[in-house]
Symmetry: C2
Subunit: 209 residues, 2 copies
């Protein structure tokens, strides 16, 4: 009573990436960035993503070097932290999310912002040279950019992929316009999210498809 479908995980990956590379227009992207975008497409099923991607050409080299040197990954959402494939991380890197930290609600009240944005305050001591991954809240990305404007140390890379209808497009356009000197990858418009962010992190951590 079995159905006819492919059950071999490696073959599923191979055919998936072949389909993406056949359908998506990756011709404008450097090879290492294309590898990241292929995984982002894999996570959402949409090959038209490539046209909306914006990036610093240094993003892959910068993020990979940071991770190889043991940098932590600072995430805005627990789903992002949960999704990172630990065996792909080159140095057993810490994957941190402070959304549920005991200090976050008071910080949100103090700054009059969301918990997701307030949790950025708890990145302060770890952000220099870290890889930042924002896959949920536009307010997190806005708050981070404000802190960088205020003189915070620079992270090694920003994966900026908040999703949604209020502030997502605006925060990502601002990152693409001026990433405050930090290598970045982002996606213009409303699309984004935790799965796509995890896919980008997994590609940055390890070039293996």
């Amino acid at each position: 009573m079995g159905m006819d479908y492919i059950k071999d995980g490696a073959e599923i990956y191979r055919r998936s990436f072949a389909t993406i590379r056949a359908e998506a227009d990756l011709s404008a992207l450097p090879g290492d960035v294309a590898g990241v975008v292929v995984r982002m497409i894999h996570a959402c099923g949409m090959t038209d993503l490539a046209g909306d991607v914006r990036y610093d050409p240094a993003i892959v080299a910068a993020a990979r070097a940071a991770l190889q040197a043991g940098a932590p990954i600072l995430c805005d959402a627990k789903m992002v932290a949960s999704g990172v494939t630990r065996p792909r991380l080159p140095a057993g890197n810490e994957v941190l999310c402070f959304l549920d930290d005991a200090a976050t609600p008071q910080l949100a009240a103090t700054f009059g912002t969301t918990r997701s944005a307030a949790a950025v305050e708890l990145w302060r001591d770890r952000i220099e040279g870290a890889v930042v991954a924002i896959g949920n809240a536009p307010t997190t990305l806005f708050h981070l950019l404000e802190r960088l404007d205020g003189g915070w140390p620079r992270p090694a890379a920003i994966v900026g992929l908040p999703v949604g209808f209020i502030g997502a497009a605006e925060s990502k356009a601002e990152l693409a316009r001026d990433s405050r000197g930090v290598p970045f990858v982002t996606l213009l418009g409303r699309r984004g999210g935790s799965a796509m962010t995890v896919a980008a992190l997994n590609a940055l951590a390890d070039p293996k498809e």
Copy 2:
């Protein structure tokens, strides 16, 4: 040096859902299903989703009653399990994912399938009356349908939203064609994923927007 953006979380939610309801064509959906689809759209930023949704009209009542009665949620992916908003669950429901169970690799070898599909075998003792949430692997959904064809007890509801290029569209089309008597919600085509699945679960657990 602040930027101009909305920082009030409640207001962000309110405006987000208002934008979705203004832009998405939800007119063909029952009110309770529309509430689920609004959250799915919120998770991915795409208001055109509504046209690809397929569902059993009983899905919301069935899933909500099961959760209120204490049913577990059986997830294919850790990101799905991680993302469910615990305070929305009406009975402190268990949220289970067996992907990393010690038995899963051997089951995958035995059945010649992916770990994601093999983990379904470990649902056997908990599936009767449970809420199933598949947000990643098409093989998980195919394997579940095969087991239901083989006489397994019925879950209360299936949220079937695997994503991707190999088997995703096919597995969801099969669920929509014949859900084996189980109330379901799915999305035709390649789109889906863990964030959308979590959004659907959060809506099924609690009608509050």
